[in-house]
C-alpha cells in the first residue's frame, strides 16, 4: 500500500510539474500577438485621454479607442506618430520601439493632452 501511495504521489507530482512547465513555458508568439500585460489601451471619452499617462516597455503597442461622440485625433507633439481622424469607435495603434517620453494631443481639441512613457 505504501509503495502505491508513493507511486501515486510522485505520478501526480510529475503531472503537476508537467502542466506547470507547459503553461509557464514560452507562449507561441505570432507577429501581432504580444502578451496583453505589455501593451496599453487609452480610451478617449469626454474630451479626455484616459489614462492621461501610460507607461509601457520598449516594443509595446498603445491602442487609442475613441469612445466619445465627437471625432478626435492622437498626434505626437514631436512628429513621432499621427493618427487619422478617429470617429466614434475607431482605433489607432502605435508600437513604440525606442525608450523616451512622448507627449501627444488632439489636434482638433488641443486642450486634450496625454503622454506615453516608454521605459
Amino acid at each position: 500500500m505504501k509503495r502505491n501511495s508513493i507511486w501515486v504521489a510522485s505520478f501526480t507530482a510529475s503531472i503537476i510539474i508537467a502542466i506547470v512547465l507547459l503553461v509557464a513555458g514560452s507562449p507561441v508568439v505570432t507577429a501581432n500577438d504580444q502578451p496583453s500585460a505589455v501593451n496599453a489601451d487609452v480610451n478617449i471619452d469626454n474630451f479626455v485621454f484616459g489614462p492621461q499617462t501610460v507607461t509601457v516597455p520598449v516594443g509595446a503597442t498603445v491602442t487609442w479607442t475613441n469612445k466619445d461622440d465627437i471625432p478626435h485625433t492622437s498626434v505626437s507633439t514631436e512628429g513621432v506618430f499621427k493618427s487619422k481622424v478617429l470617429d466614434t469607435d475607431e482605433k489607432f495603434s502605435y508600437t513604440f520601439t525606442k525608450a523616451g517620453t512622448y507627449p501627444y494631443y488632439c489636434t482638433i481639441h488641443p486642450k486634450m493632452t496625454g503622454k506615453v512613457v516608454v521605459q
Binding site: N46, T88, P110, K111
Partner: protein
C-alpha cells in the same frame, strides 16, 4: 444680471446722444421685440425699435441692411443629440427665407461639416442653394480642417482668401473681416490666429476711418469664455488691440453652440446657436460636446442670428431667434441679454 452689468448698460444708454431712452424704455422695447433675444450695440435701443417697425421699407435707399449669421451646421453628424442635422439646417434656411426683411448675405461661422468629407460639403451646398440670400461668406471651424489641413474647405470656400482662409470685404460702408483661428493649434492651447494672420489684420485695418463700423467673424470665440474647454483664442488680445480705435466693433463667433454676449468698451461680442445640436453651459457637464435634450426641445436650442445695420446709428443690432419660437420662454442654453 449683476448690478455692475446693469449699471454698465444704463451708462451706455445714457451715453447715447441723449436719445431719450432710459432703462425702462429699454426693457419695454425688449419685451416688445418678442421671443428673440435682443442685444443692441452702441446705437442703443432706438436701433432695434426702428428695425422692427419700419425697417425694410426704405432700407435700400438709406443704406441700411441686414444679414444673417448661422453656425455649426456639422453636416454629417448623426448621433442622438440630433440624428438629422441636415433637416434642422433646412429649417434654419426656411426661417431665414421667411424673415420680413431679406438678408443681403449670410455669414457661416464655421464647422460647416462634421468630418470635412466632400459629401458633407456637397449636402451643405445643396441646402444653402435654397436660401434667398445668394451670397454666403464662410470661415472654417476645426471640423472643416480634418483632412489635408483644410485643403477641401479652401478649394470650395476659400477663393480669394489668404493663408488658412482669412479675408475681408466691405458692404455698404461696413468693413467685414473673416478670421481663421482653427489652424495649427498648439498642444494644450485654445484657438489661435497666428503671427502671419495678425500682421495681415493690422495691415488690413490701417488707414481706415475710425467711424467705419467693423465686424470680425471667426469660429472660436475671440474672448475667453471657458479655457478648460478651449473656449477662447490665445492670441486674440493682439487682434482686438487693432480694432480698439474704431467707434463700433462687432465680433461674431460660433463653436460653443449657445448664445453668449459681452460688451467691452465699443466692442460687442456675440456667439451664435448651432443649427445642429446644443452644448452644455460652461462647467455644467464633464465636458463640452453634443448635449441631448428632449426631442420637442431641440428646435428651441438651435437657431439663427439676424444682424441689422442702421446707417443712422452706424451700429449693428443683433437678434437671436431659435428655430422654434417658444411662446413662454426665450432663453436658449447660454446667457441672456446681460451676458455671463
Amino acid at each position: 444680471m449683476t448690478d455692475k452689468k446693469q449699471d454698465l448698460i444704463d451708462q451706455k444708454l445714457q451715453d447715447l446722444n441723449n436719445d431719450g431712452v432710459d432703462r425702462r424704455g429699454f426693457l419695454k422695447c425688449m419685451a416688445w421685440a418678442g421671443t428673440g433675444l435682443v442685444w443692441t450695440m452702441s446705437g442703443g435701443v432706438p436701433v432695434s425699435r426702428a428695425f422692427a417697425k419700419g425697417y425694410g421699407k426704405d432700407a435700400a435707399k438709406s443704406g441700411d441692411f441686414s444679414f444673417v449669421q448661422i453656425s455649426d451646421s456639422h453636416i454629417g453628424f448623426n448621433k442622438p443629440a440630433n440624428p438629422d442635422v441636415t433637416a434642422t439646417l433646412q429649417t434654419a434656411i426656411n426661417k431665414i427665407n421667411a424673415m420680413p426683411h431679406e438678408p443681403e448675405f449670410i455669414i457661416h461661422t464655421g464647422d460647416l461639416s462634421q468630418l470635412s468629407k466632400p459629401s458633407e460639403f456637397d449636402t451643405l451646398d445643396q441646402v444653402l442653394k435654397g436660401s434667398v440670400a445668394k451670397q454666403i461668406y464662410f470661415v472654417p471651424g476645426e471640423h472643416d480642417m480634418l483632412t489635408d489641413n483644410g485643403q477641401q474647405y479652401l478649394e470650395r470656400y476659400g477663393k480669394g482668401t489668404k493663408g488658412a482662409g482669412w479675408y475681408s470685404f466691405d458692404h455698404k460702408g461696413v468693413h467685414f473681416v473673416g478670421l481663421v483661428n482653427v489652424a495649427n493649434l498648439k498642444a494644450g492651447g485654445m484657438g489661435s490666429l497666428g503671427h502671419e494672420q495678425l500682421e495681415w489684420l493690422e495691415d488690413d485695418l490701417k488707414g481706415r476711418s475710425a467711424s467705419t463700423p467693423i465686424v470680425l467673424f471667426a469660429h472660436i470665440p475671440l474672448w475667453t469664455i471657458y479655457p478648460d474647454w478651449g473656449w477662447g483664442t490665445d492670441d486674440s488680445e493682439q487682434a482686438l488691440s487693432y480694432v480698439k480705435r474704431f467707434g463700433s466693433v462687432t465680433v461674431l463667433n460660433g463653436h460653443i453652440h449657445q448664445i453668449m454676449q459681452k460688451v467691452e468698451g465699443k466692442v460687442s461680442f456675440h456667439t451664435a446657436m448651432s443649427t445642429a445640436f446644443p452644448q452644455p453651459a460652461p462647467g455644467t457637464a464633464p465636458s463640452a460636446g453634443p448635449m441631448k435634450v428632449p426631442a420637442d426641445q431641440l428646435q428651441r436650442v438651435l437657431g439663427v442670428t439676424d444682424v441689422n445695420y442702421l446707417v443712422s446709428g452706424r451700429s449693428l443690432a443683433v437678434v437671436d431667434s431659435p428655430l422654434a419660437d417658444s411662446g413662454s420662454s426665450a432663453s436658449a442654453s447660454g446667457s441672456g441679454a446681460g451676458g455671463r
